[in-house]
């Protein structure tokens, strides 16, 4: 298996573009918050730092912005070493979690602040403010005070304020977390559109895996001060490097199993049942290169379940018992028990509703369509 977080060899042109963070360490007192972070965000890219609270992602953002110094390591932006540079010299736009709009300034004054600091003439400033307000679809709000805006509107103004200075890099610190769920989706799409339009190099921090998978062209999963995995959203979701990454990106079923090699191929044993793997699962077993005790990891949508019939159990299914069904609109989550392990299986509602009497206690057959094979650990 390749290690996606390993330093890729950099061409000379790549070396000078975008953001480089090189072996950054940071601790507060006895606690190490960042333990040697190295990453590269190419020019025009949209990268996402995903991690639970306490993973160090906000600290990393503050180091990049210059709000806090790193203990060791370097940060370069567009070929300049900015490690020791004051924040006001870095030309990095920041959108804060609570927006940090200056409450005593109007929307226009907020957005014009960075331009004023750059000594831009009034007429040009006003033109730029108009343009950026149009970009975030807030034209007509220029004279409002921040307190008179909704959360979503404040968010757009904060984004406009960070973009108007034409930053080398845009940093977004959990920009959606303070919004209602419904507005969040709307702003999320706006964010994607604006980033695509401006092509500004962007790093966003979030703990919400849904946001991460939707927005970024590359996701970096951070945990306990180290980068666990980085890659395209689909790649990380489908091929998580380890159980932490897999579990953090979405619900995951983990079942202890054993790989047994037989004359006609590979068989899996789960508890007392033998299972003939699907071709996708066979590939995963081959890729993992493991034998003996392992753990099978599969997302709810990678499993399939049918009601057992009077016929014998098919070789590619495990026998289990239905525990219950959670109805969630278009889809249902079916809870089953296989060899004393609880599994959650995603299915489309019409398939289940039309499929007959799904009552708790019914015998079911569970198929593992896809999955990952992880080292066995303690389970047998």
């Amino acid at each position: 298996m390749n290690a996606p977080w390993a330093q890729s060899s950099l061409g000379a042109a790549e070396e000078n573009s975008g953001l480089h963070v090189i072996d950054v360490h940071k601790g507060y007192g006895q606690t190490a918050v960042l333990k040697g972070i190295t990453l590269h965000v190419p020019h025009n890219a949209f990268h996402l730092l995903l991690g639970p609270s306490g993973s160090g992602k906000t600290t990393l953002l503050r180091i990049i912005a210059g709000f806090t110094p790193a203990d060791s390591g370097r940060v370069t932006l567009a070929g300049r070493d900015i490690t020791a540079m004051l924040p006001e010299r870095r030309n990095i736009g920041v959108v804060f979690q609570n927006y940090a709009l200056f409450p005593h300034m109007s929307v226009a004054q907020n957005i014009g602040f960075g331009l004023r600091m750059r000594g831009m003439a009034r007429a040009e400033r006003e033109q730029r403010i108009r343009d950026v307000l149009a970009l975030v679809r807030m034209g007509g709000f220029a004279q409002r005070m921040p307190a008179a805006l909704s959360g979503g509107q404040q968010q757009r103004v904060a984004l406009a304020r960070a973009l108007v200075i034409e930053p080398e890099l845009l940093l977004l610190d959990e920009p959606l977390s303070a919004l209602d769920r419904k507005i969040r989706q709307e702003v999320r799409e706006e964010l994607k559109r604006i980033q695509a339009e401006t092509r500004v190099t962007t790093v966003m921090v979030t703990h919400d895996q849904e946001e991460a998978l939707f927005l970024a062209d590359r996701v970096l999963v951070l945990e306990a001060g180290v980068i666990r995995q980085q890659g395209a959203p689909a790649e990380i979701y489908q091929q998580p490097a380890d159980e932490f990454v897999a579990g953090f990106l979405g619900p995951l079923n983990v079942v202890p199993a054993a790989i047994e090699r037989q004359a006609d191929g590979v068989m899996l044993r789960v508890g007392g049942q033998h299972l003939a793997p699907t071709s996708a699962l066979r590939d995963a077993i081959a890729a993992a290169g493991l034998s003996g005790p392992v753990r099978l990891a599969a997302r709810p949508e990678q499993l399939a379940v049918t009601l057992a019939t009077a016929a014998a159990r098919p070789p590619d299914a495990l026998a289990g018992r239905l525990l219950g069904i959670d109805f969630a609109g278009a889809v249902v989550i079916i809870h089953v028990e296989v060899e004393a392990h609880r599994l959650a299986i995603l299915a489309l509602s019409p398939d289940v509703i039309a499929g007959g009497p799904w009552e708790p206690g019914r015998a079911v057959w569970v198929r593992i369509r896809q999955g990952r094979v992880l080292p066995g650990g303690s389970a047998g």
Partner: protein, 271 residues
């Protein structure tokens, strides 16, 4: 059978209790205000309305000089307290280590909780030792020390409530440390600075003991003047002055309220 009432309602009895409490609190001041418009020079009834004593106050009363001195002194103290107190508050909230903060806060608290009788006398001992003795400079320093804490506490409270990300945002947009303070922090703490300055002014103006022990003999601030006159008993022109002072106090309080009394640090002023 008892009538059922809204359990949260304020009953007429409760309003009466509050009214009595307020009446008790205001009776002496109200009597003085009423008497300032009474013609009798001994405060005796019947009541005859006049503005005579206000004329006396401004024409030939010994009260105006001390009042003027007190106003000038307190204004100087308040302005100094505003400057030093704001700097101290910024240090306390943004720069101080844990030990430094505890020591600074403790000293400020001591300045307003050690009985001013003791503090004033102790200040006099030190002023005598360093050769300042009883002097206007000594009063100025003494009053500054006891009004400074109000500014520091009020401004520090406001500073703590300001999201540090506002300052970070300004820095990331290209403002240096000084520009950030001038354009972002200062406007946000200005109401607190004004509240603190007003309170410092009132504390300096009213404090008797510091003035009593540190004033040069023969120099009379208003509280010192009242102290020497009070045994004389009834003073119709003092009634007039008191009325003006209470009226000014009311205006100051309304001003403080407009500035956001929540920041004023008065006990219980957070409704």
């Amino acid at each position: 059978m008892s009538r059922l009432r809204d359990i949260d309602a304020v009953s007429p009895g409760m309003v009466t209790v509050l009214g009595l409490g307020l009446a008790l609190l205001f009776l002496p001041l109200l009597v003085i205000i009423a008497l300032s418009f009474n013609a009798s020079p001994y405060g005796t009834l019947p009541f005859q309305a006049t503005l005579h004593w206000y004329g006396t106050l401004f024409a030939r009363s010994g009260l105006l000089g001390p009042t003027w001195l007190s106003l000038k002194l307190s204004a100087l103290v308040a302005a100094s307290a505003a400057l030093l107190g704001t700097m101290g508050a910024v240090w306390l909230v943004r720069r101080a280590g844990r030990l430094g903060a505890v020591l600074f806060r403790g000293t400020l608290l001591a300045a307003i909780t050690v009985p001013w009788l003791i503090l004033g006398l102790a200040m006099l001992l030190v002023m005598n030792a360093i050769g300042l003795g009883r002097s206007l400079l000594s009063i100025y320093l003494g009053l500054l020390a006891i009004s400074l804490p109000y500014v520091v506490f009020i401004v520090a409270t406001r500073l703590q409530a300001i999201d540090p990300d506002l300052e970070h945002a300004a820095r990331s947009l290209g403002a240096g440390a000084l520009a950030t303070f001038a354009l972002v922090t200062a406007p946000l703490i200005l109401p607190a600075i004004l509240s603190g300055t007003l309170i410092a002014f009132v504390m300096a103006f009213n404090n008797f003991l510091i003035q009593y022990f540190l004033a040069p003999f023969g120099t009379q601030t208003l509280p010192l003047k009242i102290y020497t006159l009070i045994r004389v008993g009834y003073l119709p022109d003092l009634n007039a002055l008191a009325t003006l002072i209470v009226a000014t106090t009311c205006l100051l309080i309304l001003l403080l309220h407009r500035l956001g009394l929540r920041n004023a640090g008065l006990p219980g002023s957070t409704p």
